[in-house]
Symmetry: C2
Subunit: 347 residues, 2 copies
């Protein structure tokens, strides 16, 4: 009886599955751990979904994937639009797969949900890499907030690593807050620059330069070579002004031409050296631990605020109190007290 | 009967009050609005108290004080130790009272609670100003957190203004986060500098320079004058590199000698000009509104976190989960989910 019933259920579920072609979470994990890219893509889609059922499935899959040990290197790559990020990743990625690495390319770009995929949205920009069986490319998830995009990308890293990818490249657009988010999820942070952009030493980009473990001047080819050399000297001097990194690493400035393929070997060499040093000193693992801790605290913080501001009675009262505070009719601290008392009462 | 009883109660309370000398909140407000400095000092003590009863009394007093209209100017004054802040405030304060202003001096210095009052703790450093009937000096409140110190100082500003002070100077020590807090409670932010400190153009002080509405090179006297002139040129050039202020104000660099009393008139002239412009354009009032809004949001944020981390069951589980997250046994997002579920259940 028991056997019969099982067989029945199985055959029914097989039919259903065939029709809908939706694998179970267990099946996805099994396939994903075998390096199946369709399963990986499907799991990432679950991570990116806003449906509660999908999210629960994603959570379960991630927990299973976390049990896998991985030695993958996570590299953040940033630079302003036009610096040649896609070409760099194409050339760099091909180099890595030729060396036997399995390369996953993800992206954090909160603007792409509005502009419908400015980064990696067009896979044709990486024509060679996209055909490489040892490369996996995934465009930036869409979400209304940077926090949402970053969280999804961060969970996708876990999935890629469980699927056997040994290098995960995370691309970001180099214009704002996304760089901090990416810096908080990678082992190594690479900043792409162009020659003749001396003005950028000042202004808002300083924070991004400060995070870089390596500065690469791209498009150092043809008539541009001389300018690249000058820029290299300038950037080197500028990097000296920054406070030293906690791990003692001194960021270097290198030149490359992604189109001609020059300088790429040296960049990978530097990253390998960084990783070796970091593994020996224990910095890499302690850095990951700190990153995990920050993500936990940041998520708690975000969710506490989300819950508070979504609270019905708080919502109702917030406008008036905000106005009273701005007009100095009530002190900000008393207004906060009132709102928190409302929040602590029943919804 | 009723009259008799009332008289009895009154006489008892009179005796009690006489013995303990504790005025009621109503009495404090009345005296404070009349400019009584003892009442002002007492009200500030209530603001600074950690006793719940005192805090409730303080809240009530502040609400009454907020009803008073004040045209007071709030000026933040910062600079590294040794730059001569106390001497500057002494000279500047005397100048202002001579012009008929009533000057209150407060401080934000989270370190003073450990070092037992590094700022203003020793009122003898302002020997003249402390004797001035039109000046009121209050050392930094003690608190374990910058947030606590800042909040207390911010509420004390309200009390000083209700007591009729027309200029409130807020001193801070110029080494870290306190400057951001002070910048968020003043109309004008003055940065004191010394000549020959060119190195400070780089590094962590940049953020403080960016907030300054006026940069003053102190100790421009004697053999130091020439160096001060050079520094003035250097600082002017450095200020040019910063993005323009939202109100269009271009920060100037001036020289002064607090000991000789030179340059002080010109500084006050600049501040007056800033205030006049800001009142005409409406910037000053919109800036205050934005500051109030920020304080409300910041307070809500702080309190939400405080409540969360003080929650018994959260406290109990946090250590284990934090550890699991750091060791990558569980994703930060799932750990956050677990903790928030614990928090949302009964305590």
């Amino acid at each position: 009886m028991r056997t019969k019933k099982n067989t029945d259920t199985e055959s029914i579920s097989k039919v259903r599955r065939k029709r809908k072609e939706i694998p179970t979470a267990e099946e996805l994990v099994e396939q994903l751990l075998n390096g199946n890219t369709t399963a990986l893509a499907r799991a990432i889609t679950l991570v990116e979904s806003s449906q509660l059922a999908d999210q629960q499935k994603a959570s379960w899959i991630i927990e299973k994937c976390l049990l896998q040990k991985s030695n993958a290197i996570r590299i953040g790559i940033t630079g302003v639009p036009g610096v040649g990020k896609s070409t760099f990743i194409e050339t760099f990625g091909k180099k890595l797969t030729a060396l036997g690495e399995k390369v996953a390319v993800l992206a954090v770009d909160p603007t792409s949900s509005q502009s419908k995929g400015s980064i990696l949205g067009d896979k044709t920009r990486m024509q060679e890499l996209v055909k490489d069986p040892n490369a996996f490319i995934r465009p930036s998830p869409s979400s209304e907030t940077l926090g949402g995009v970053a969280r999804k990308t961060r969970e996708s890293i876990i999935l890629c690593e469980a699927a056997g990818y040994s290098v995960v490249l995370i691309e970001t657009v180099g214009v704002g807050q996304s760089e901090t988010a990416v810096h908080g999820m990678v082992d190594f942070f690479l900043l792409l620059k162009l020659a003749g952009a001396g003005d950028e030493l000042q202004g808002i980009k300083r924070g991004i330069m400060e995070m870089a473990d390596l500065l690469v001047i791209n498009k150092a080819d043809g008539t541009n070579k001389e300018a690249a050399r000058t820029a290299k000297t300038e950037f080197k001097r500028a990097l000296h002004l920054f406070p030293p990194k906690p791990n003692g690493w001194v960021p270097n400035v290198m030149m490359c031409s992604a189109i001609e393929g020059t300088g790429i070997d040296e960049i990978w060499e530097i990253i390998r050296e960084y990783v070796n040093q970091g593994r020996k000193s224990g910095y890499l693992s302690s850095n990951r631990k700190n990153q995990n801790k920050s993500w936990l605290l940041q998520t708690i913080d975000d969710r506490l605020k989300q819950n508070f501001y979504a609270h019905k009675s708080v919502k109702k009262k917030l406008g008036t109190l905000l106005n009273d505070v701005m007009e100095e009719k009530i002190s900000p601290f008393q207004a906060a007290d009132k709102l928190l008392r409302i929040y602590q009462e029943k919804p």
